[in-house]
């Protein structure tokens, strides 16, 4: 970016100025409107309008396939969802998944970033290598881990077998299936945390460490009082971002376990899908979706507020 800074000014002098009044001048205000409104209209049409529509449907018993007019049912859909044991179970599964995955990713991602930041050579290559998983499509990741975690033919169990350990039913036991989901998500998204943590770590000014080493501060002290406070704000951004993404998780469940065994790895997203496309109970599914959107909005607000603070600070 910085290298070409000087060019435009020179060019500005070189290029012949147009004749005054040659083209109709848009006011700044008009220009802003003309430039922004197309994008906003797309968002209004493709995001806001559908959501409002879903909001309307959520108060009806509408079904996308049944040929009967929708009836207004008030908040019945909402009370049904909020009082449903099935939904509570999915909410708990989702919570376990989000907390487990994000925690694991944060710890691992930060550890890797920390280790990389202490290397002098090959940091670029190392970083690039670590980033591969997060560039893959969730479909590819899901399919491939399904293959690797297969109890009979999978390479993971094969390796465990060579170590003399027994076979693990990764995808077909209640606990291990959820753990497998967490592990796969962690595998894919640890690089994300790592990348951002690394950005924070490399930004810690060197003189702070130098000052600390003059003071003969312990390694832990330096980490606790210099490194962590400097990196934490960025890390928090990454964590919140991941939490929102994990909350929305659908593809991995769809491919890896399709919610099984039983319904024990069904997340809220997966459950919404079933309500919407198996029974085509569009009204209920819309209410369910709106509730999820509310959660996302709350999470996103935290994220954005914090981001804002960080930017201004």
């Amino acid at each position: 970016m910085t290298t070409t800074k000087d060019h435009p000014v020179q060019e500005a002098h070189a290029a012949a100025p147009p004749a005054p009044g040659g083209s109709p001048r848009l006011s700044d205000r008009g220009l802003a409107v003309a430039f922004i409104s197309p994008a906003l209209l797309l968002l209004l049409g493709m995001s806001v309008f559908p959501l409002l529509w879903a909001l309307y449907l959520s108060f009806t018993d509408y079904s996308a396939t049944r040929d009967v007019p929708a009836n207004f049912v008030g908040v019945e859909n909402y009370t049904n969802i909020l009082t449903s044991d099935q939904v509570h179970q999915r909410a708990l599964t989702t919570l376990l998944y989000v907390v487990g995955a994000v925690t694991l990713q944060t710890v691992l991602g930060f550890a890797i970033a920390f280790l990389i930041s202490r290397r002098t050579h090959g940091r670029g290559a190392l970083t690039t290598m670590f980033l591969v998983p997060m560039m893959l499509s969730p479909v590819v990741v899901g399919l491939f881990w399904k293959f690797m975690l297969d109890a009979q033919f999978g390479v993971i169990n094969s390796m465990l077998g060579s170590l003399g350990l027994g076979q693990v039913e990764w995808l077909t036991r209640q606990r291990t299936a959820l753990i497998s989901l967490i592990v796969v998500d962690t595998w894919q998204w640890t690089p994300f945390i790592m990348l951002i943590a690394l950005a924070g770590l490399t930004a810690v000014p060197k003189y702070l460490y130098e000052a600390a080493s003059i003071d003969r501060a312990s390694e832990w002290f330096r980490f606790r009082h210099i490194t962590l406070p400097m990196v934490w704000p960025l890390l928090l951004i990454a964590i919140m971002f991941r939490a929102i993404e994990a909350f929305r998780l659908f593809d991995l469940v769809y491919i890896l376990t399709s919610g099984g065994p039983g319904v024990s790895t069904e997340t809220l997203s997966f459950h919404v899908y079933k309500v919407a496309f198996l029974g085509f109970n569009t009204g209920t599914a819309s209410a369910y979706g709106i509730l999820m959107v509310l959660v996302v909005i709350v999470l996103a607000q935290f994220y954005l507020r914090y981001l804002n603070k960080l930017k201004e600070g």
Binding site: T65, D67, G260
Partner: protein, 477 residues
């Protein structure tokens, strides 16, 4: 609508901002008007939907593509090849296209398009249990008159005609002559028992108990080979069909169709016995981690020589005798020395699952393609064509074709199908099918994988299915 779509497309690379804005504005407005509850498009009047003419209307001579939708598996390719080779002899201007979607997405792909009142297929190949949903929503044509006029109904086992076309559903084994028909058989199917002749002997076990004993013995004698392999996954209808099969074998029933009761029927004594056998006797004989197995995993286990006895849909068993995919032999004959195919053992009752699919006509297809679809059906259900379909790897429905050498010699498992026809039983084909099957699938899968107590799972199936049937699909959760 068409115009709008075209404008939108053309506008993309060109002057995007203004045109796209206009398109989106218009789109939003249109959506607002056409949307919401009162969706009045589509010709669906009352339940039952539109009716096909009794005779095939005049056909076009212009080039025409007739589209099917099915899921991704070998019979789909076989159908496309067969139809293009044979049907074009009669109708050279017609090309047949069989579109496929992933099995897990099959129901959703068809019914989302039905819901859109606009289909990119003319002939949906529905699972037999999807008929109720499609008929109730007016998605497929009523072809009763057409069948009476053009199809030799006496040439079929009446139940096969009923199973792939009739709604409301007939009693198992019967056809209700007064009920309407909405489809014709395309591919018959049922489970076959696959057993290792080299490990358990040439004679297949005759009863379910004997089968379990043989599997146990085989597993004990052959380390690394598990006794059984069957469908246990919680997707599609995998685990549910497995339970339903055992339920049938032990004399149980899925529901009482007349008064729509599930509670107390599926979880009666026979039902509980079936669940107990499945979870406590059969499951321990399966490979570790087989709790998410469906068609392809069972095939892989057999092909890798890892199972003594396996259960599989006949239409999906073709790959088992393919030396390229099997470790059991270098040639088909070598494989067949080791693999035997038999009808399912019996116990308290003589029941096997009905699989397979019928072909139907989308209510939203243009009329010239609906006409062509009718003509295709008429053509397809002729005796000689059915025999050719059998020779090409299909499973016909006409009795004469089923008994023909063309069929019986086309595959080592075809005799099994012919012998099973009189024993077949289907699930409910009511509009709420998709939810009923999901309830049963997830609960049976949970019981098989220790996520739920088997008895509890069965009671949950009964109460949840009853709730869905009682609320006629409403509620939603």
């Amino acid at each position: 609508m068409r115009y709008l779509q075209r404008t939108g497309r053309r506008s993309l690379p060109g002057r995007p901002a203004r045109l796209a804005t206009a398109a989106i504005l218009a789109a939003t407005a249109l959506a607002a008007c056409g949307g919401g509850a009162g969706d009045d498009s589509g010709g669906a009047a009352a339940a039952g939907g539109p009716t096909a003419p009794a005779t095939v209307p005049e056909l076009t001579d212009d080039p025409l593509t007739l589209s099917f939708i099915w899921f991704e598996w070998p019979p789909a390719q076989a159908l496309e090849d067969f139809a293009n080779a044979e049907y074009s002899k009669e109708r050279p201007n017609v090309t047949i296209e069989v579109n496929t979607v992933p099995n897990a997405n099959w129901h959703d792909a068809m019914f989302t398009q039905f819901a859109a009142r606009q289909t990119d297929f003319d002939i949906p190949i529905l699972d037999s249990q999807h008929i109720g949903e499609a008929v109730t929503n007016g998605n497929i044509l009523d072809i009763t008159d057409f069948v009476n006029e053009n199809i030799e109904v006496d040439a079929y086992d009446p139940y096969l005609l009923a199973a792939y076309g009739q709604y409301p559903q007939a009693e198992t084994g019967q056809r209700d002559e007064d009920a309407s028909l909405y489809g014709l058989p395309l591919l018959g199917d049922t489970w076959t028992m696959i057993y290792r002749k080299d490990l358990i002997g040439d004679e297949p076990p005759k009863t379910w108990d004997e089968m379990i004993d043989a599997a146990q013995k085989c597993q004990d004698e052959n380390p690394g080979v598990s006794g059984l392999a069957f469908h246990q996954a919680n997707g599609s209808d995998a685990a549910a069909v497995t339970y339903n099969t055992v339920n049938g074998v032990y004399g149980g029933n899925l529901w009482n169709a007349e008064d729509k009761t599930v509670e107390g029927v599926i979880n009666d004594e026979a039902g509980q016995k079936a669940m107990d056998v499945l979870v406590n006797e059969m499951k321990p004989l399966t490979a570790k981690g087989s709790g998410n197995w469906f068609i392809d995993e069972v095939n892989a286990a057999v092909a890798q020589g890892k199972a003594c006895i396996a259960f599989q849909w006949i239409a999906a068993a073709g790959g088992l005798v393919d030396p390229a995919q099997s470790t059991l032999g270098k040639t088909e004959d070598e494989i067949l020395d080791k693999l035997g195919f038999a009808t399912l053992p019996t116990q308290d009752a003589d029941v096997v699952p009905l699989g397979g699919m019928g072909m139907h006509i989308s209510a939203y297809a243009p009329s010239e393609r609906q006409a062509e679809a009718l003509n295709f059906m008429k053509w397809f259900e002729q005796e000689d064509i059915q025999k050719k379909w059998a020779a090409a790897g299909g499973v016909p429905a006409r009795t004469d074709a089923l008994e023909s050498p063309e069929f019986l010699e086309a595959g080592p498992f075809n005799q099994v199908y012919a012998d099973s026809v009189s024993r077949m039983r289907d699930m409910w084909n009511v509009p709420e099918y998709a939810r009923l099957i999901d309830i049963e699938n997830t609960n049976v899968n949970a019981a098989l994988n220790g996520a739920k107590d088997p008895e509890q799972a069965l009671d949950d199936i009964a109460s949840e299915q009853q709730r869905v049937l009682d609320s006629a699909g409403g509620g939603g959760l």
